[in-house]
Symmetry: C2
Subunit: 290 residues, 2 copies
């Protein structure tokens, strides 16, 4: 049996009791290590489980999945995923490969940022489509994430922005030379994501676009290491977010749409300073009068 | 400290290791028992925890929260929620009440249907706004959930439909007489939800509405007891779903929007019969040619 086990978001103890039982009994234990990270590394997991853990990179999961699935018709294999197992397409693919070989599978769900984002106080039912914000390069500066945020906001919906992760990437030079040398991992920060958004806003204004849904003083919420002891939430404007350091990864960014009083009350708990609280209170008064 | 601990979706062992440690040490343990249910009851939880668990109904949480928060400045109080703690507004309210009293809080996240729905193979990033389908009565038959599903579908997005829960409801007669007699709990089934949708579709057609986004033969996915050992997933048409029994609660219903090949491949795993597989394969061929 193939067990896909969600690890949740924080540290080793965020695995479920059911998940831990499976890990302890499985023949082999893989850790998917390229779509997300915990605040603890493989060593801490191995110590907590009392088991060896095999790191599974993108190549192993997408190209060499046979090695993962080996013996899983007769033995239990655990495939660990940070967050919930179905957060990324690549795991659906693994399940389908297993099914084609006649291998049974079971899923042990866990928290992922898609529901844990509720910790900022914005109601999950009021979120529109989730967007991904990618690292801009000198030559590739897509705006598509802005359009999706704007579309959500125009319907009053909040947006969860997942921020880019670059793990085991090769430089173009090393790629062309066929050298298997990898760049250090990079994680898009809430600050840099806000910077990219502010740039798009400025560009739209310069181009004379009307009815721009976002502005430099739009409220946003930065979330860092959700679910971990060092979790940090911060409400401020997009402009302010560009110069804030929320610390180590992972970060996410939320752009609120229309907010109910209870939602505004929660955002105030994480306000950067008094002027942000005043901004929210102005919104509260407006919504009372409308 | 107030600990809000998510229990996940299946049974007692879906609590996280961190959550279980908190429950074992807390002075009092409450179980929120009106926004969702596990496949196991309070007794099974008490046995697994080796602790007494106090059932917290809506009245206790919303009106008498002081009793829950009592001593929590100096003692640890655990408040257990099926799924993730921030699935319902009422828990945000409890957090805000705690904060007003200067009580610290911590959240232990877990899976909820909002991310676990990924088990059907549809990608979470392709879901639009979540909708709630309510029980119709003779006099109250809202269509608003249909409009939201249609809006998602027109943008190619999938829709997760959460199905109504009626716990500790009074009949109008008992309510008027002030009798605290409660009706047995009721849970909207995927079958009845599909029936209500089909009725709306028929009505729209009779009223001559054009461009109706859904039809009786639209594909849907019924999900029952997600995360539990008895989890059941079923892909069929809305019309077929009206006469399907997915067993005990909780149920959810998903209406797919535009599907990628991998998503269609997963839905086929749960097809009601060969004709549903053929329907999906026809969609696959269409999407290859477009």
């Amino acid at each position: 049996m193939l067990f896909l086990v969600g690890l949740g978001l924080g540290d080793a103890k965020d695995i479920t009791v059911k998940g831990l039982e499976i890990v302890k009994k499985a023949k082999r234990v893989y850790l998917e290590a390229y779509t997300s990270i915990l605040t603890v590394g493989k060593d801490a997991l191995e110590e907590f489980y009392g088991r060896d853990v095999i790191l599974a990179d993108r190549d192993m999961v997408e190209v060499d999945s046979d090695s993962i699935l080996q013996d899983s018709k007769t033995e239990d294999i655990a495939f660990l995923v940070v967050g919930d197992p179905f957060g990324a397409t690549t795991h659906t693919d693994l399940v389908l490969r297993a099914r084609k070989k006649g291998i049974q599978y079971r899923v042990v769900h866990n928290a992922s940022i898609l529901n844990a984002v509720g910790c900022c106080g914005l109601q999950l039912y009021n979120f529109g489509e989730t967007v991904s914000i990618v690292f801009w390069t000198d030559t590739w500066r897509p705006h598509s994430f802005y359009d999706k945020i704007a579309a959500n906001k125009s319907r009053g919906m909040h947006t969860l922005c997942l921020l880019d992760i670059k793990v085991k990437e090769q430089s173009i030079e090393n790629l062309m030379r066929g050298k298997k040398v990898y760049e250090p991992p990079r994680y898009l920060t809430a600050s840099l994501a806000a910077e990219q958004l502010v740039e798009i806003i400025k560009q739209k204004r310069e181009e004379g676009e009307k009815d721009i849904e976002l502005a430099e003083d739009s409220l946003c919420v930065g979330l860092a290491r959700v679910g971990a002891d060092t979790q940090t939430l911060l409400t401020c404007t997009l402009e302010q977010m560009t110069s804030v350091d929320l610390g180590p990864p992972l970060h996410s960014l939320v752009i609120p749409g229309y907010m109910h009083p209870l939602e505004m009350e929660m955002l105030k708990q994480f306000a950067l300073n008094d002027s942000v609280i005043e901004m929210i209170e102005t919104l509260e008064r407006k919504s009372e009068h409308s």
